[in-house]
Symmetry: C2
Subunit: 270 residues, 2 copies
């Protein structure tokens, strides 16, 4: 089992921020990634539809013989993880609890901000998870629906992005938060602009990167880490839309020269 790949799913390229950390921290693990770019963003969709789409991505990855499944998408984690996890025999990791734990660890004044898609914010998943663990903490939540389209259209750098980040996050500048959870795996691509606007005193939590720590804990706990890689590690990338934009963003972001995503139809594969 140790030699099987880890599967990552996302609505689009955002999950690559999780893959990037996995490539770095788990250099002996094979990775399969699928982004559902044809149907993004997931944020505004009803929960039942997010669950249906996430099941399709899950089934696609299960056919790749994955040993662990990572929901590298906050919306899918908020809406579908608890529904799908009980049906699988492999460990399933989401991004919300890792982000929650890291924020509780990082905050000194107990004032935590969360930015995420409308779906994740409406689900109240972060606030519930944080309050369940420490009822004394204060959570300020804010939907940032313009961020995902900005990233997926490869406009996550430059003046337009800077303007949208400032307009969106303005309400958070009035608060006393010392920690801000990037509650969508697309947002780390906007991290420099977000940090710039919020200032150096606010610590940003990349929930996706934190999820890799949980993956690592569970690989060890269940003794399914690959400690004997033969040859170079294998990575496979799939998208439900045209691979061109995917390859460009993925290549830039992952700092890999050659990424060739394969376009697949997850509806037919089921």
């Amino acid at each position: 089992m140790a030699k099987q790949p880890i599967g990552f799913l996302d609505s689009g390229v955002g999950g690559l921020t999780v893959v990037k950390e996995a490539l770095r921290q788990l250099p002996q693990e094979d990775i399969v990634f699928i982004g559902d770019q044809a149907r993004l963003p997931y944020g505004p969709r009803p929960a039942s539809q997010v669950q249906e789409f996430t099941w399709q991505l899950t089934n696609f990855l299960l056919k790749k013989q994955i040993k662990m499944l990572v929901f590298a998408c906050n919306t899918a984690t908020a809406e579908a993880l608890e529904v799908i996890k009980p049906h699988l025999s492999i460990p399933v990791v989401g991004v919300i609890l890792p982000g929650t734990r890291a924020a509780i660890k990082a905050s000194h004044n107990g004032q935590i901000g969360v930015i995420a898609t409308e779906g994740t914010i409406a689900s109240n998943a972060y606030e519930k998870a944080i309050k369940l663990r420490d009822p004394d903490l204060t959570v300020v939540s804010l939907a940032a629906p313009k961020f995902v389209p900005l990233v997926e259209s490869n406009q996550y750098q430059g003046e337009l992005a800077r303007k949208i980040v400032a307009e969106t996050l303005a309400p958070l500048k009035e608060t006393a938060i010392d920690t801000l959870i990037l509650g969508c795996t697309h947002y780390p691509l906007l991290r420099p602009l977000i940090q710039d606007f919020m200032g150096p005193k606010v610590q940003l939590i990349d929930s996706g990167a934190e999820a890799v720590s949980e993956v690592s804990v569970l690989l060890d706990y269940f003794e399914i880490a690959n400690h004997h890689l033969e040859g170079p590690r294998q990575t496979s990338f799939y998208t439900t839309a045209s691979p061109e934009m995917f390859d460009q963003i993925a290549g830039d972001w992952l700092d890999l020269n050659e990424i060739h995503a394969e376009q697949v139809n997850v509806k037919e594969s089921n």
Copy 2:
């Protein structure tokens, strides 16, 4: 099961650096701690004896109905965890893998230092764990046998401590490490002096504090976190030696006014 306490064991007060993080990050969990001060340091003891003593501490904690056991001691983790873990039906967490993961995550140049007791260094546990996960990393290990007695005698601040830290760590200053694992749970009490000597460019990894992240992951994964604390959380501290020094160090370190450790004989309790 969620309402049962988490057990922590150590050779002495060092494990309190782990408890401190647990108190902060897991405010709804009851905690039972035992330090084997009568028989410390564990570092120079043969593995078989460390295993015998650790079994005694484990059995003491099991009688307290713990739901999870934390080896808050690197020497016990290196020498006894793999021996004891298969015999227990509750999750067991050590400090070496969490420290390993955090160092791999933190290092930018792939040069990682480890300081620990003679026993932990001789076991080669950190180097093995790091290399198994990433063979390309370089590990520089150094035993620091004078640090535990310094802490246990409450001399971990001041000029003597500064001098011993400088003398001990001098060989590491010649290396290119950018990350240094504090591979003994006593060492975080010396953290300001260690950071001062190594300089701001070397990132210190507190393996004990990192273990609390693993505790949190496993509490969630096995759904045994306490989300409904009734009244103030319970903490119990036990030592195998006189509680006076223990109470003083614990009170200072944990920033708690009143700690009254109870002296117990773990040999008789078995």
